[in-house]
């Protein structure tokens, strides 16, 4: 009787081992692909103002060995000038005008603002006339550091995430620059256009 009980106990233990045996590895014939999209509104960019370097009077008998430089800050329009031998209407400490851009788009999305590194000004705006180049710069305090991209500078900016749901986000930024005029530059009224663009990243 004792031996029979012993066998019964052992049989139960073996059955327990069989029930807890590890299952074979199960592959997965079902899965879920995912689809996603980010929907944004079109970017709108407008500008006002004018980048103005004032009037620069050339010295007589210019040889091209000297030059005057006038810079207009994109931050606040403050002027820095170096006009020895010339007469400049704008001097260091003065304030001039600059281009101001207003950009709007979808909130909390990155945009890339592209500003050309330079622009060409022609006498009377006529591309067949003498020209002079000006260097351009974006407002660093708003746009951040620039990344050179060919002949342009690119700034990546995140549109603010403020305002009512569904409303556009916007911010303004300025563009300034500097001009260097040699003492033998052809006189005249110089002006020209340049293009500032913005795209979602």
């Amino acid at each position: 009787m004792t031996n029979f009980k012993r066998l019964a106990v052992l049989g139960t233990s073996i059955a327990a081992v069989a029930l807890t045996a590890m299952p074979a590895h199960a592959a997965n014939p079902n899965t879920e692909g995912r689809a996603k999209v980010k929907i944004v509104r079109p970017i709108d960019i407008t500008n006002t103002g004018e980048l103005d370097f004032g009037t620069i009077v050339l010295p007589s008998g210019g040889t091209g060995l000297t030059s005057a430089t006038v810079a207009v800050s994109a931050e606040d329009g403050s002027v820095t000038a170096s006009c020895a031998g010339f007469t400049c209407s704008l001097n260091t400490g003065d304030t001039s005008t600059y281009e101001t851009y207003s950009l709007s788009g979808t909130r909390a999305v990155n945009v890339v603002v592209t500003i050309p590194q330079s622009a060409r000004l022609y006498v009377d705006g006529n591309t067949a006339n003498p020209f002079i180049d000006v260097s351009l710069s974006g407002q660093a305090s708003v746009l951040g550091a620039a990344t050179a991209a060919g002949t342009d500078n690119e700034h990546t900016v995140t549109l603010p995430n403020t305002g009512a749901a569904g409303s556009a986000a916007s911010f303004d930024f300025n563009v300034g620059g500097s001009i260097t005029v040699p003492d033998n530059q052809t006189d005249g009224d110089y002006w020209g256009d340049f293009t500032v663009s913005a795209d979602y990243e």
């Binding site: 199960a26 592959a27 014939p29 929907i39």
Partner: protein, 177 residues
């Protein structure tokens, strides 16, 4: 006396333990799969289970949508891209979804996907992804290496003035023919 009784018991124990040895990986029938796996004229121990692996999502990236009117953006499985209505452009970063099937080399499989799903934003808005399709024939065969890869795409329908991030899941299943 005790030794004599233990000898036959020991032999019985050995026989029973041998019968509950762990099966080799991959040979036992899968009890956890929702789709049954059948292998005519093949023993269960020789059958290789089929499985899916998602390689990439169907990603429309950024869609620029005008303020009004319905629009659509299509990323077709054959690579075609087009927009209509209030959708002005598809980003160059948009990409098709991609899935790889692993199983027995040469076996034909049946792949099932819905034709339409909804994508949802975190604030509960919805858009529709329809005409979901893939770039395979009706019952493709697994290659010599036991794998088969396919791409899938679809057509998004959006309302003008809509903004935000939308996501949705596309259930995909496969089974041997």
């Amino acid at each position: 006396m005790t030794k004599g009784w233990l000898a036959p018991i020991g032999a019985t124990l050995v026989a029973i333990l041998a019968s509950v040895a762990l099966p080799a990986a991959g040979n036992a029938q899968c009890r956890l799969c929702s789709s049954p796996v059948t292998t005519p004229n093949q023993s269960e121990s020789e059958q290789q289970l089929v499985e899916l692996q998602v390689e990439s999502q169907l990603d429309f990236a950024q869609l620029i949508v005008l303020d009004s009117g319905e629009g659509s953006a299509t990323l077709a499985a054959d690579g075609e891209r087009r927009v209509s209505g209030s959708v002005t452009a598809i980003s160059s970063r948009a990409m098709l979804g991609s899935v790889t099937i692993h199983g027995e080399p040469g076996r034909r499989v049946s792949i099932d996907m819905p034709a339409r799903i909804e994508l949802h934003s975190v604030d509960g808005r919805r858009i529709v992804l329809e005409d979901i399709s893939a770039d395979f024939s009706d019952f493709p065969a697994l290659g010599g290496d036991g794998s088969f890869q396919f791409n899938f795409g679809g057509r998004l329908i959006v309302e003008g003035g809509l903004e935000g991030d939308f996501r949705g899941d596309i259930p995909i299943s496969v089974e041997y023919l």
